[in-house]
């Protein structure tokens, strides 16, 4: 419903001024200060006005450009080895079980994604139902896939023994090429990058929330490597435990290098350096 021009609620004007103040450089604009479509149009116009009239902020900060360059370089080196299609490998008998279990899960997830997308094209999200499917749709839309990263010219690095990683346990590991966590998620062993996909801070495991938390801007990743406390998650699941507000942007998931278990040892496939 369009508000009438002569009846502006002073409280609405007060609240919306927070958005304007933020966009004018006094904080980070939040969708929480924008309550309906009309205000979203106003916010967008204010953002364009601000963008067009702030010559200083229209130029990127040099420190930002350098920091992002380093992040890209690191990501590129980490991903370089996994960009290439996987070599054909005969899995040793000992790893067949774990491999099959992971592969089976992944297949079902992919099927879900595919099925979800077909359904989603014809139905409103609410009809599809289920936060998980909604999220799968969103993730697929964003162009992210829940596939394990598969390495080309890499090596298997031993990172833990299974007896140190009972169900529910999470351990940090470091290889020359990769910092990560190895996770035993109810029997499924998984490796995840330990670097936040926002600005590259090192994630901390929080047992009480069962997540990987970024100390810099409070992004939380779940143990599948997906951002767990952004606005979409709040909209679907309600407030994130322990947080006062949603993480403001979406982030790519954590990299997931390939894992194998051999003779009670856990190996992660990472780049050779």
């Amino acid at each position: 419903m369009a508000p009438r021009d002569d009846a502006t609620d002073p409280r609405a004007a007060e609240r919306f001024d927070k958005y304007v103040d933020a966009v004018l450089g006094r904080g980070r604009p939040s969708p929480d200060d924008v309550v309906d479509r009309d205000e979203a149009e106003m916010a967008r116009l204010a953002a364009e006005l601000s963008g067009a009239t702030d010559a200083a902020a229209a130029e990127p900060d040099e420190a930002f450009v350098e920091q992002l360059r380093l992040r890209m370089r690191q990501a590129d080196q980490g991903i370089d080895a996994v960009r290439v299609p996987p070599p054909v490998r005969v899995a040793p008998a000992a790893t067949a079980d774990a491999g099959a279990r992971i592969a089976r899960f992944r297949l079902s997830r992919r099927d879900l994604l595919r099925g979800g997308l077909t359904v989603g094209a014809g139905l409103a999200a609410g009809l599809v139902g289920g936060a998980f499917i909604d999220r799968a749709l969103n993730d697929a839309e964003a162009g992210w896939t829940d596939q394990e990263l598969v390495a080309g010219n890499g090596e298997w690095a031993e990172v833990a023994v299974t007896s140190d990683l009972p169900s529910g346990a999470v351990m940090r590991f470091t290889t020359p090429a990769f910092d990560g966590f190895v996770v035993n998620d109810d029997g499924e062993i998984r490796a995840l990058g330990a670097t936040c996909t926002h600005l590259g801070c090192t994630l901390q495991y929080r047992p009480e929330f069962n997540d990987l938390r970024c100390p810099c801007h409070d992004a939380s990743f779940n143990l599948r490597g997906w951002l767990a406390n952004d606005r979409r998650n709040w909209q679907q699941d309600g407030p994130y435990p322990g947080d006062a507000r949603a993480y403001p942007i979406t982030l790519p998931p954590l990299p997931r290098p390939k894992v194998k278990v051999e003779d009670d040892k856990i190996f992660v496939y990472t780049a050779r350096i």
Partner: protein, 171 residues
């Protein structure tokens, strides 16, 4: 440093400033412009085929930027994230003329200044004080000789009027 890494940095150096400006013109503030710029280039590391020619790479970067900006605004509109444009991994051909980045920025700037000129006097004043001269609400209220509360109401109405005018000119 691998050869691919070197190529990425060439692309980065050539385009990071333009992409940042492009994004900033659409989100209007530095923290969000930095986040979205970072998203675009981190995605480029994962998905951009660097063997493509320069024009195709530029088109890819702007397409991904546009999608990131659309995602950003979707949070404000609270629209369901279904059935919207999808970022295809890798490369898709883009029609010639689809990416005219710097020109597009000028267009955005010209559009908002034209919009300001068409606003009623009082509305134009409040937006000029706030956005062009970047005064605080307090300073704006003083300039206009009204209370803080009224300055905020005036600003709200001015933005609403401008947004309505903008929507009607867009068709």
């Amino acid at each position: 440093m691998t050869e691919t890494g070197g190529r990425f940095e060439q692309i980065y150096d050539a385009h990071v400033v333009a992409i940042y400006r492009f994004v900033h013109a659409r989100v209007g503030n530095r923290p969000d412009a930095e986040d979205l710029t970072a998203q675009v280039f981190m995605r480029a590391v994962e998905q951009l085929d660097t063997t493509r020619d320069e024009g195709q790479i530029v088109a890819w970067l702007y397409r991904v930027s546009q999608n990131a900006i659309a995602d950003y605004w979707r949070a404000f509109y609270r629209l369901p994230l279904v059935g919207t444009e999808q970022v295809a991994p890798g490369w898709e051909p883009v029609a010639p003329g689809e990416s005219a980045p710097d020109a597009a920025d000028d267009v955005a700037a010209r559009r908002v200044t034209a919009l300001l000129r068409r606003l009623p006097e009082r509305y134009r004043q409040v937006l000029e004080l706030r956005f062009l001269r970047r005064l605080s609400v307090e300073e704006t209220a003083r300039e206009l000789g009204i209370s803080h509360g009224n300055a905020k109401v005036l600003q709200y109405r001015a933005l609403r009027k401008a947004a309505l005018m903008d929507a009607s000119t867009d068709g």
